[in-house]
Structures are given as C-alpha cells and as structure tokens.
Symmetry: C2
Subunit: 260 residues, 2 copies
Amino acid sequence: MTYCLAIKVDEGLVFASDSRTNAGVDHVSTYSKMHSFSWADNRFFVLLSSGNLATTQAVVKRVKADSEDAGGASLRTVSDMDAAANYLGKISTDIQRIQVERDTAKSNFEATFIFGGQIAGQEPAIFLVYPQGNYIHESAEHPFLQVGETKYGKPILDRAIRPNTQLELAGRCALVSINSTIRSNLTVGPPVELLIFAKDSLNGGRRLALTENDPFYRALSDAWNEGIRHALNGLPPFDWEDELKTAQMVQEAGYPQSMG
Amino acid sequence: MTYCLAIKVDEGLVFASDSRTNAGVDHVSTYSKMHSFSWADNRFFVLLSSGNLATTQAVVKRVKADSEDAGGASLRTVSDMDAAANYLGKISTDIQRIQVERDTAKSNFEATFIFGGQIAGQEPAIFLVYPQGNYIHESAEHPFLQVGETKYGKPILDRAIRPNTQLELAGRCALVSINSTIRSNLTVGPPVELLIFAKDSLNGGRRLALTENDPFYRALSDAWNEGIRHALNGLPPFDWEDELKTAQMVQEAGYPQSMG
C-alpha cells in the first residue's frame, strides 16, 4: 500500500509521501514515490504515485522523455495546470493499455497520482489523477487530496487544514498525518518525503527525506505524542469524577460521609 | 456502517458505539448498538453489535429469552467469560443459518460483535466475535478491540491506550476516537453511547448517550480541537524557519543582508 497527500493553502503547496512498496509480504521494498520537475522561474511540478510500480515508473520515464523531446505535449510545454493534469492522465492510460494488451493473467496495472505545481503567472493547483485518466482538484472546503491508505491520517487534516493555514504548519500537519498512518498500518513505511512549495517560488521548493531515525522526524513524533497526551489530559471530566473528587476531599477533611 | 470499540485497562472496561444504521443512502436510521445485561453483584455483560440489523436484533432477543428460560445455556448460567463469548458465537451463527436457508438472493446476514464484561470473582474480559462464531480477545500490547469503520479512530487509541491508562481517561479517549470518525465519515453518526465499567463494580457501570448537542459532548469536542491546535503549534519548526526568523530580526534591526 501507499499513503500520499497534497495540501493547497493560500501560501503554497505541501506534498508528502511514504516510501513502502510491496508485492506480497515477502517482497517489501522502498521506493521514492515523489517526483519533481522544475524549469527554473517558469514552472514547477510534483508527482506523487501509487499503484502498480511498473506503471508509475513508466509514467515518470515518459514525462521526462517528453519534456526533453522538442515537439509534442509535455510538462515543459503545457499552457496551464489543467492541461498538465490531462496530459498526465493521457500517458497513464496509454501505458496501462499497452500492459493490458500484453497481459494474459488479468493483472492490475492501475496507478493513481497526486499531481500539482505552478506555472509562472498562474495559480498553483493540485489534482488527483484517477487510473482512468480523469482527475479532480481540491476545494476550499476540502483543501487536500489523499491516495492509498487514507483513513488513519484524515482526521488530523479534517481538523487542522484550512486555506488560511500557515504553509509550514500545513507541512508539519502532513508529517503528523503520515506518522499516524505508519504507526497504525504496516503497509505504509518510511522514509517520509515532504516537499513544501511557497507560491511563486518557482525554483524547486524545499524537500526533505526523513528516515525513522532522523532527529527532526523523531523530535516531531515525540512532540506530537506529548501534545496528544496533553490534549487528552485537558478534556473535561465526567460529572461523577467531580463528585468523587469532592467526596474524597470531604473524606480527607474528616467530615462524616453518607453512603449512596 | 458502524463504529464500535471496547478498551480493557487495569481499572476496568470501556465500551463505545455510534448509532447510525443504513440500508442505502435513502434509508438512514438511528438504533442503539449497545446492549447490557446485568445480574446485580454477580455478573455484568455488554454487547456492541455491527452488521445485518435483523441478525443483531434477533441475537439480542435470543440472549434475553435464554436468560429468562430456566434450562439451557445463557449469559445468566455460563461459568466464565470464554463460555459466554462461545455461547454468543453459537447463537449468532444459528440465527444466520436460519436466514441463509430462507434466502433466495444470496444476501449478507453477517454480524460482528464486541462482547465483554465480568463474572463475580473472575477477571473482566473483552472479545471480538466474528460472523463465523469464533472470537479473539484483546492483549496487553493491544488492549482494545474495534469493529466497523475502524481506521479513522485507531491512531489515537494506538498512541494513548495502555493497560495502566486511567479508566475515565480511556473513556474520554474512546469518545475522541468516535468523534474523529464521525467528523471524517458520513456513515458513522451520533448519538454516541459510552459505558464505563469499573472492575468488580458488578452493578451496571456508568452509561451515557450523547447527542451532538449534549453540552458535555460539545465541551469535549471543543477541548479536543483546541488541544490538537495547541499540539500542532508545539511541533518543532523546520530549520529554514529559524533562519528566516533570524534573517527577519536582523533585517528589522537594520543590519545589511546578503542574498543567497
């Protein structure tokens, strides 16, 4: 399995992904699922991949080849973000079709992508590109997109992410979302990759690859555990706890107690 | 869908359940999924149900009828918690079999239960009873059991619940787990039922049914949101944030800045 997410806030974009791939429990491996494509000061794209690893690797290879080719559609030449998402959906379905035609065993070649970025002078955007090649964008009410093992890490995003959330805070929230998923589900694993892209900074964003033992990742995980403990301890008591406490205080003060 | 959970800590047991049932999106309804059976000072049981509503209602009816009947196995007569779980698995599969034999449409009559309680002089226990009638208990490493839409509410349990967790804190943690699930998934809905059973208090436990507008439930939900906000704000900054802050302070102080 996989867990990837992207967040769009007013200040920019956040992308995050785990790195575990598996084909059965005895074929577990680590691959980066985050790919970025940059033309300095002109355009910057990030692709997060989930699904069949052969398909996703072929898509990334094709994106690079098209961009180096002088003619034809490519991320280098698309006129806007929508056209870029559409281009990506097209090459994904093309690559799947080739594999399906070769296949004799009804295998699953599907891949799902989160894709986002910015073209100079335009708004940043994020998309979820389905295996069928069509795609959706985020919305102001739901300013994030997820693929893979999405449920464990959704509550924190639902509670914390709004369009006006500060960019780096959104980045930390993405790390917490992935950290929670890794703790709860074995098929999602480190290193965790994070890319924080400030709007209009068309030079590649800030990218981190965090292993389990990375001091920053550990500090963040420890701080979150401590924060959760504190939040739990700050919840209101049940009414009988107040009564019990009062009863105890009265008892300690030596007053007579009636029994109920 | 459904979300039910039970927690076993040293001080006792916690049971919690949502109340939404549906048979398609145009047949959404509210039913209690929590049933308790008490023989004062002798034994106390709680049953949380998920799955086919006709099956779960028939199981509860059968449990009551057997307990009022003088002869035969029943929750009133079983010798220990294991025998109680086994009895429950038996009547669940019996009831499913009757329905399957009548059925002409390959319908799904399966039901899954969380079952727990205590018999005087014995240890409290919780079980997850599968549709096949077999069952598992919790463990010290994993002192909780969940059924239904379990993923959204699992990270908080993974982080917070240990055998030595204080009983009422475990109860609040169960409410947070359900609250997060309700926020993230439409098929899980209030009222939320909570039952807190202190070990050896064989007189029924403390039971709450919390609607969305219940003042305690709202206070808990608000306090948790505030706690999460605080926890997020307490996470360590990325290294470049420190640099940016330093750069900003230097700039504000009027010192010359080199550009990188």
